[in-house]
Symmetry: C2
Subunit: 540 residues, 2 copies
């Protein structure tokens, strides 16, 4: 027997329809790529999204086609998402920070038919377009006055292009499981893999993210996602903010401390989100200028662990709560937010900072487990660590145009992270599972080793890798870039680590190198390191 | 092309699973029907719900079967919901405040196979059971020590009944559109009509309700729904609170000011919900005793309009924000909450109270329109009023075991209310559409007339009805119960109204009566009044 409730599919256009009706005049503020700060509203943004939809349809873009975007956070970029999904096509965000070969691989694999791009990226795409025959047209997100001379295929200025149509367009009627968005992961190994979001998953994820213990946006919030829309589905802000009717502030291409401080203060931003580096730079700017943040209430920090000093300064100096968040492109992307559960009771500052260093707890819609190598569930005691697996309606079950299954027999996705979970459900990532060092049945966190190593004054950067060992299976090797002008002392570094780690966790050897290899997005390339030290034999 | 996201149906058991895993120790506090305040947790409640499921299955209850509940708000009542839905059966809440004939009608129409009931209702059901042959077994929500001698069919004490099984049970795998809950409307006309919720609609509704501008529950909230679980799906608290991990305080059968004040204060309740009468009584108790409400932050008030004085006292005396809410059983039930949008800017107290008198704005998942009698959309100017229609994933499309369609050609449900919507989307109910008085193409709100009439010192209660008029179609007649010991003056009342209403809105006549007829739930029976005054002719 079925319930007798209305058939109301979870489609992305309902988000912008809701915002345009219920929060019609709410501002959407962008720092434009051309320079000036420009203002629009949800009602106007929806109107322009309808034009995008109508114009795309006229260009022959059809349901299921991929349409690329290579753009900063602006209202124009966001309205393309709603326009693209409004005809049943798929927005595909390209990350301009990747190596050009990766961009070519990703746009080719996705078979993007049209690309929206900011002025910033015209020169790059002119270099690449001959390698991207699937892209039939380049729409430059600007107006005629700012349109450059370009040899991009069928290039047109966005404002001219949408001016050819009106808003009289009906959103496509789709199944809620229809594809809506595509975002490739930039892993450290293998080719990038495409995550294909559906209308249902994006709408549910935005609802999940808007729960109080997650982003918890309200119509009284002024939300500034510094995290780019091209980074892991923009951490949901492009959907969650209009769903909640929050004012949206989009910082465009200028992500330096001064530019962000200006927007935070002038636009009275209450909640923002970015990777730790952004906040570190902002805090330096604030300290140098003596500026205050009277309206900012909370900042969401993800992408990598947030330094304790940043969390402390935000709290003690600016009265801002840091919300550590964890997720991945495959999770739409939010998995946990470290809002504080009441279980912890009243905490003094240091204990509060201890909890705030963790990745946080999942909200409704995310199931989580940690397992050992044999698939046995591990206890939630904050100590045991194992493979972190997740399940939920906004988590990938397969990659775009790839055959291999990625879920286990219970339908869980292996995140590739190794984590602990404490008794209150608060998760902490300990390592990547391919980087954890397995020594005699025990797991040693390479990240833990590295974090302690960089605490020594001789160490500029450190990478810990497992190297094969006849007795223990693997043993840790610590690769260190010494600080400039220092004569590094191996024994001093080992003695430093010995005060912080158990004996069996200590590296068997410390080797000094001039440079550690990194990916385009700044991650250490441990595969390359492991190859380099493949033949290395432990001493003794 | 479909997205590649996991298949994770929106099933009710996922809510209690989430609570039991992520908020395992969070308290669920009940004032038991036996008397004492008892405490459990979400983890324990889930374990007992699994026992309920297993035991129901052993009693032969199958997917789609209806299982009645006739009970106050306690953990036992709530765990029956999760147990019933966990095997794919349908919880059917019965309202003990209805006339006994209505209870018989509803339980018969639903074909309830088993009834969970509180000790309070054993005697009533002994009177009614011979008229309810479908009910095979009565499970009294108590333990052996408190179990009365009863001739109820196959009666058993709940604690004995679930003690026969363990928790080793797998929730049923269901489609998310499967029926989950049944609640009958107690309208003023016709037979009660059953609203059949699905798993999907209840889960989506709980997610909608947990948005910040609606209930916005968090794990740090202590939520006390005074509104009964049997009243319009319990305003979602039974789902929203465990979904958010909020502490739940359930007041059982004692809803007097003293009992509620005790729980509000001792259990540090932060958010509560009830009809205006409850709050009126509570405020009287607080005033008489001088008690404070240090933890309470917000109260949700629905069912009928909240007197301005109550909203004012909560704000000025206790620092509590009143959230006026509107909804209906057919809407799962929440439709709007009057949290304040930033559009209104900074308001002084009186202007704030003006806005707070409105019913509020819908959150994502509710679409709303107002129409005239010809189906034309009316402007959102706060003045024009018309039929209020709604659409969304948690709104009924039909009634249980009734043929007639209830949606218009656009899929909207006519709420039967007449309302205005202001330019910021804030809705105000003006009247019921069957009660509004249609005079010469203009609509006159009967509620408006009544509210102004009771402002006159001679008037104890007033009801305005439309009576046929040869020229105007209908004209208003005001039926008044005078205050005891007063010689009421018709002209004085009309003069009073003339200072507040336009001339064409004034009643053609005022008639005095000893009593106005009411329904079991306290609503004025206007149908009966209209019948009584059917032959009445306007003067002149």
């Amino acid at each position: 027997m079925h319930g007798l409730m209305q058939d109301w599919p979870l489609l992305i256009h309902k988000i912008i329809d809701h915002a345009a009706v219920q929060h019609a005049g709410r501002p959407v503020v962008s720092r434009s790529v051309e320079g000036p700060i420009v203002r629009t509203s949800y009602a106007a943004l929806r109107g322009r999204a309808l034009k995008v939809a109508k114009r795309l349809a006229r260009d022959g873009i059809r349901e299921g086609d991929r349409v690329g975007t290579l753009a900063w956070n602006t209202a124009r970029h966001l309205e393309t998402w709603y326009g693209i999904t409004g005809i049943g096509a798929v927005y595909h965000t390209l990350n301009p920070r990747l190596f050009e070969d990766q961009i070519v691989y990703i746009a080719s694999h996705a078979e993007d038919r049209l690309l929206f791009l900011d002025l910033t990226f015209v020169a790059m795409m002119e270099r690449l377009q001959d390698r991207l025959p699937s892209i039939e047209r380049y729409v430059v997100l600007t107006d005629a006055a700012h349109m450059p001379r370009t040899r991009l295929r069928n290039a047109v200025a966005y404002e001219d292009w949408i001016a050819e149509v009106d808003e009289d367009f009906a959103w496509a009627a789709l199944e809620e499981t229809a594809a809506a968005g595509l975002c490739y992961t930039s892993g450290t190994t293998g080719e990038p893999k495409g995550v294909l979001y559906s209308h249902r998953s994006n709408v549910l994820h935005a609802m999940m993210a808007n729960q109080r213990d997650a982003l918890g946006l309200s119509s009284r919030d002024v939300a500034m996602p510094v995290v780019p829309l091209f980074h892991a589905n923009g951490w949901s802000f492009g959907f969650s903010a209009p769903m909640a009717g929050a004012t949206l502030v989009l910082p465009g291409p200028k992500l330096d401390g001064g530019s962000l401080a200006e927007l935070l203060i002038e636009e009275k931003v209450t909640v923002s989100a970015a990777v730790p580096t952004v906040w570190f730079t902002l805090l330096q700017h604030l300290e140098a200028t003596g500026l205050e943040l009277p309206d900012l209430e909370r900042v969401v920090i993800g992408g990598s662990a947030c330094p304790r000093a940043v969390t402390r300064t935000f709290r003690e100096r600016y009265g801002v709560e840091v919300l550590h968040a964890w997720g991945m492109t495959e999770m739409s992307p939010l998995g946990t937010v470290c809002s504080l559960k009441p279980d912890y009771g009243d905490l003094d500052v240091e204990a509060w900072l201890d909890v705030k260093e963790r990745a946080g707890h999942p909200f409704f819609g995310i199931e989580m487990r940690i397992e050992d190598d044999d698939g046995r569930a591990l206890p939630w005691d904050g100590e045991a660590f194992g493979r972190l697996k997740v399940r939920g309606p906004a988590i990938a079950k397969a990659y775009f145009h790839r055959e291999e299954p990625i879920l286990d027999h219970d339908g869980f996705f292996d995140t590739g992270d190794v984590a602990t979970i404490d008794r209150f459900g608060n998760m902490q990532v300990v390592d990547r599972s391919k980087d954890v060092i397995k020594s005699g049945g025990e797991w040693i966190s390479s990240i833990d080793l590295e974090n302690h190593a960089v605490g020594h004054p001789h160490v500029a950067e450190a990478a810990a890798i497992g190297v094969p060992h006849p007795k223990w299976g693997e043993r840790p090797l610590l690769v260190v870039v010494p600080k400039a002008g220092v004569e590094p002392d191996k024994d001093a570094i080992l003695a430093h680590l010995a005060t912080r780690l158990a004996k069996w966790q200590l590296p068997d050897e410390v080797v000094f190198v001039e440079e550690i290899p990194h990916t385009a997005t700044g991650k250490i390339q441990k595969v390359a390191l492991r190859e380099r030290f493949e033949g290395w034999t432990p001493p003794g």
